[in-house]
Amino acid sequence: MKPEEIIDPANRVYARPRLLTEVNTHYCPGCSHGVVHRIIAELLDEMGLEDRAVGVAPVGCAVFAYNYIDVDWVEAAHGRAPAVATALSRLSPENLVFTYQGDGDLAAIGTAETIHAANRGENIAIIFINNAIYGMTGGQMAPTTLIGQRTATTPYGRRVDLNGHPLNITNLLAQLPGTCYVTRQSVHTAPAVRKAKNAIKKAFENAMAKKGTSVVEIVSTCNSGWKMTPAQANEWMATHMTEHYPLGDLKNE
């Protein structure tokens, strides 16, 4: 059978999700953000949440997330997404409120807002993209940058004596009584993408069921910032990142 015979709407098993807008993303080729955006768009459609979802966009590479997923959005100041989401959720409890944040937004400038929203058990889902670097500003050190990792501000590699330790904030969040589900996933292979999708689905379900705060960390890549090809970045992530940020559920209540 020739491809032209197979390519028929009746045989389609995978299509671009309806809730992704038509615009091309500004992300670099191979960026993990695009995969996570696609998963979210798929889930919002499959779960029938299109009319009730409000996303909170961060400051960082994902600042324009609102241009790509076709639901209501609020763009927060740097690090304040959990505070913004707190009000969105408390004032519109019927809605699904989720934040989408990078490591700088969530684990550096917004640490207080992250921890306190999670500790209050706000009924929100936090999607946390950890690529161990500041992508948007040109590849500087993030709170999650690994020891020895080179960035624009750690040109000779991160040193504990100069820069402190990588912050494993997801482990911290798992210890808070306000969180109901804390998991660490990746999107570098097809099976990983399937698992990550299930995790985000669970986080959305928890938020709708008012079970408290769910945190889904996606251990990601920034091939531009890491100065690798996308495939090399995936490999480096799987080898080095998961050592410090091991994949799997940290909490599931």
Binding site: D51, V74, E75, A77, L88
Partner: protein
């Protein structure tokens, strides 16, 4: 139903918020305004009107909760005092830049830095000249009585929604802490979700069948579009300046000298003016109620009538700059201020007037 009560200005803010149908309050304790949050927690409005009240982890979080709440079209507010309001400036700039309605209360204390917990008016510049980054204005209301504290909650929300712009109630520690008779307004119900969606078609309420998504953002990387955004803000500010200037006058009809003072200080000045009048000195008082928009035209008019103007402020001389601009330096404009939490008495004000304008005594 209307109700007459004796209470602190801060308590009046809390009662008024519930009665004016406020949907959410987000705050962080700081003296001298903690009674706002305390009173709301004690009144438990979530049991009656459904209003949300939340003690945030910081002033920064509180203002960003206000940003989030305002983004849904709800009537939301926060309160703080000077150091806390400094922390809120980033959030206020975002609220203004996203064209969101919100109400912010600053019960000013002496600064700079941690300063003192005693009254001050040293945040005038911060309030009327921006405070945060970028070209924006808040509508700034300056209450001088506990009654105005209550009334300005309603007025503040009305103006905030009319212009989709943040409104600041710039009070001081005196108005926040003193007890006075206040007539609390009859309760007006919180708006229904349907009313909110009609009034705020821009709000991030969830699409609920809407054909397009709503995005609340202050970001626009295209400079041409960002300039258009700024031009839109400036049109709003021009409309506010044209329609919303508020002030009160006492004894200005035949005044030869004018005192300009706002907030609680205006009441001290009024007492001084009454003493001066007893001595045959024709002094009048102009009390700006809106500090932005500033009553420029009225000061311009009065500057053609009087021989000198004295601004009295709890600071080193801030509003005086706007008074000088508005009067176009037609007459001498002098300043008398106390700082660091000291409040002058009427005698000091009178002495200052005569020191600056000795000819007034004859």
């Amino acid at each position: 139903m209307e109700e007459v009560r004796l209470m602190k200005g801060n308590e009046a803010i809390a009662h008024a918020a519930i009665r004016y149908g406020c949907d959410g309050y987000f705050g962080y304790p700081i003296t001298p305004q903690s009674e706002v949050l305390e009173t709301l927690e004690a009144l438990m409005p979530w049991e009656t009107t459904g209003m949300t009240v939340l003690q945030a982890e910081s002033e920064v979080a509180a203002i960003n909760m206000v940003y989030g709440g305002a983004a849904t079209g709800k009537a939301v507010m926060t309160s703080s005092s000077s150091p806390g309001v400094s922390l809120k400036q980033e959030g206020i700039s975002y609220i203004a830049a996203s064209s969101l309605p919100a109400l912010i209360l600053n019960v000013m204390r002496g600064g700079p830095g941690l300063g003192t917990i005693q009254p001050s008016q040293a945040d005038y510049f911060q309030a009327v000249k921006g405070g945060g980054h970028g070209d924006y204005h808040m509508i700034v209301l300056a209450p001088s009585t506990v009654q105005e504290m209550a009334d300005f909650v309603g007025l503040g929300f009305d103006l905030a929604f009319k212009y989709r712009n943040p409104v600041l109630i710039l009070a001081d520690g005196i108005v926040g802490q003193m007890m006075e008779k206040v007539v609390l307004p009859p309760a007006r119900p919180r708006r229904t979700q349907q009313q909110i969606e009609e009034q705020c078609p821009w709000a991030a309420t969830g699409r609920h069948g809407r054909a397009h998504r709503n995005v609340v953002t202050s970001l626009e990387l295209d400079p041409a579009k960002m300039e258009l955004n700024n031009e839109r803000f400036q049109r709003t500010y021009a409309a506010i300046e044209a329609s919303e200037v508020r002030f009160a006058e006492h004894y200005t009809e035949d005044a030869e000298y004018l005192i300009v003072a706002f907030g609680s200080v205006a009441r001290i000045c009024l007492k001084a003016i009454e003493e001066a009048r007893g001595q045959g000195v024709k002094v009048g008082l102009l009390r700006p109620i809106t500090l932005w928009p500033f009553p420029k035209a009225e000061i311009d008019r009065l500057s053609k009538q009087v021989k000198g103007i004295l601004t009295v402020e709890l600071n080193a001389g801030q509003m005086i700059e706007d008074v000088r601009l508005a009067s176009q330096c037609r007459v001498p404009v002098a300043h008398f201020g106390r700082m660091g939490g000291i409040v002058p008495n009427p005698g000091e004000v009178l002495t200052a007037l005569f020191n600056h304008f000795p000819e007034a005594k004859q």
